[in-house]
Symmetry: C2
Subunit: 324 residues, 2 copies
């Protein structure tokens, strides 16, 4: 009997490659809400509770304080959220000691069985993009993560080194399509001449991702490991992007501190077996800095943090449970 | 007598703020060529000469080898180039020890009076962009640089934290307009409906930068601290972008290893007091890895490096000396 070599290869491999889309959606269904907590340690907002002795924003104790703060945050998130989203800029501003903190924080998250989506918005030409992919998306990367955010300005060929790691190592990619900031329209909303009337740059970017998104669909859920960023502050555009990319998971910033409601944040979601699904709603400052800036006791801090976390979870659970 | 408070403030400041555009153009005029050497330490191409004992691409000695290699490179560049361009991805792939090497390499460059342009292509929403600006563009940043490359996809408001450091600390910014890679047209060449017929996304980005570029012009040379990236592989587009941004310094990748000639790389240059000026031509691999990969002696390595450096300097000196 002649076997297809491709099938045999799959059978002989030790473990099936993980698939980011399947893994994430399965966890979100189990939890019943799509909350992703952003880890954006604004230096001047780290509670004094986590600072030992004298410190200033530029003091040498700052990396230690950030680390202590975020490790405490992760302990409170265990079992309650599927994934966290560290924003690398807030670590880079501390130089290499900040990156060392990021490495430790991400390792702790994964040890607590929380997935990690690194918000880095990287994008560069081929050989350089390969460097970024090696930095974050390989099993032996110095700072391995489950998924990363990417910038599409340089073109589709520059996404390929990242796509290769999605295929080979089951990593997830979230490409910027329509961002949450007020000026996102400057470039993203430019109307383009080709395609259907009124199509804008963000729509053209979404269209250009369709074939790769289809290729990277998961066998279990059908959701793709190629996701997109669509700001909660533009719910109408989310519906439009969903039509162009039916199987891409949306990373939705802008909920909470940036002003969008749970209902707006879930506009691009679709019906799944356990309610609306197909996206991650990110909240950073609203949860991370829920406690009064000068809270001094651990119990008071934990209480304020937990209340903000539970409020977000409840709002988003209700939003995905509603009929449409 | 009533003095304008603003004027008095300026008079009272200790030193006039430096201006990136003026400083860079003055140095380039003195040297007679626009070469910018890219520091892209591809791990598998660092000559064995700089590796001590056993090492592999993922081995712990790699950061040390990269550091030794780049410090030797900087010693050979002193007095011969105005500026170097480290590509941060090649350091990030080594994790935080890589960033520590980058910090030391950039500090050495500045100690040797070589300016530093960090190729990071960062871009994010306001509060996050501010984190990147604090990381690299302030006098007390952990890794201070003279200039940085930026990605415009998120919109003009996201450039503002960087522009503030250009104003306050004399830093330079290079915004991606038309990149050198084969797929750069996917997004950058989309034709937009508004503006003159046939205008493309990269042209619209250039137009949107015009007022900030004008604001950031230097008092000595008239050149702006807001520059743009225009790939040498698209010389026709360089001429078009020059019309839209007459005072922006071009950072031109794609010369050498990526295939463009010195003449193509200087297409966007204009006549100045000492020849064609208004741009930086970047060459990385063609100079950095000029020596045979297995070169073992320091003298042989230095000879090959110097020959490649001199060839690039001569080609570019001739290109900017020609009439147009």
């Amino acid at each position: 009997m002649i076997e297809c070599p491709r099938t045999r290869e799959v059978r002989l491999s030790d473990t099936p490659a993980p698939h980011f889309g399947d893994e994430l959606i399965t966890r979100l269904r189990d939890l019943g809400h799509p909350l992703c907590v952003g880890l954006d340690p604004h230096l001047n907002r780290v509670p004094p509770l986590f600072q030992r002795g004298d410190m200033s924003a530029s003091g040498s104790q700052t990396p230690d304080a950030v680390e202590a703060f975020l490790l405490a945050v992760l302990d409170r998130l265990q079992g309650r959220v599927a994934i966290v989203k560290p924003q690398i800029a807030f670590f880079e501003q501390l130089g290499w000691p900040g990156l060392r903190v990021l490495e430790r924080v991400m390792a702790r998250a994964r040890a607590l069985d929380i997935m990690v989506l690194l918000d880095a918005k990287r994008g560069d030409i081929g050989s350089t993009a390969d460097g970024y992919a090696r930095a974050y998306l390989e099993p032996d990367s110095p700072m391995p993560v489950d998924a990363i955010t990417l910038n599409p300005y340089l073109g589709l060929d520059t996404l390929e080194p990242f796509a290769a790691r999605a295929r080979d190592h089951g990593r997830g990619l979230f490409v910027l399509v329509k961002t949450s900031n007020p000026g996102s329209g400057d470039l993203q909303d430019l109307e383009v001449s080709k395609g259907e009337a009124g199509r804008k740059v963000y729509g053209a970017v979404a269209d250009s991702l369709a074939s790769l998104a289809a290729e990277l669909r998961g066998p279990a859920t059908g959701w793709s490991s190629l996701g997109v960023v669509v700001g909660a502050t533009y719910p109408g555009q989310a519906i439009e992007v969903r039509e162009r990319l039916p199987h891409s998971i949306f990373l939705v910033p802008g909920y909470g501190a940036q002003g969008a409601s749970a209902s707006e944040a879930t506009q691009g979601f679709v019906r799944g077996p356990k309610g609306l699904e197909g996206g991650l709603v990110a909240s950073s400052r609203g949860i991370l800095f829920a406690a009064d800036a000068h809270v001094s006791g651990a119990t008071a801090w934990e209480g304020a943090f937990d209340r903000a976390l539970e409020t977000a979870i409840q709002e988003l659970s209700e939003a995905v449970a509603r009929e449409r």
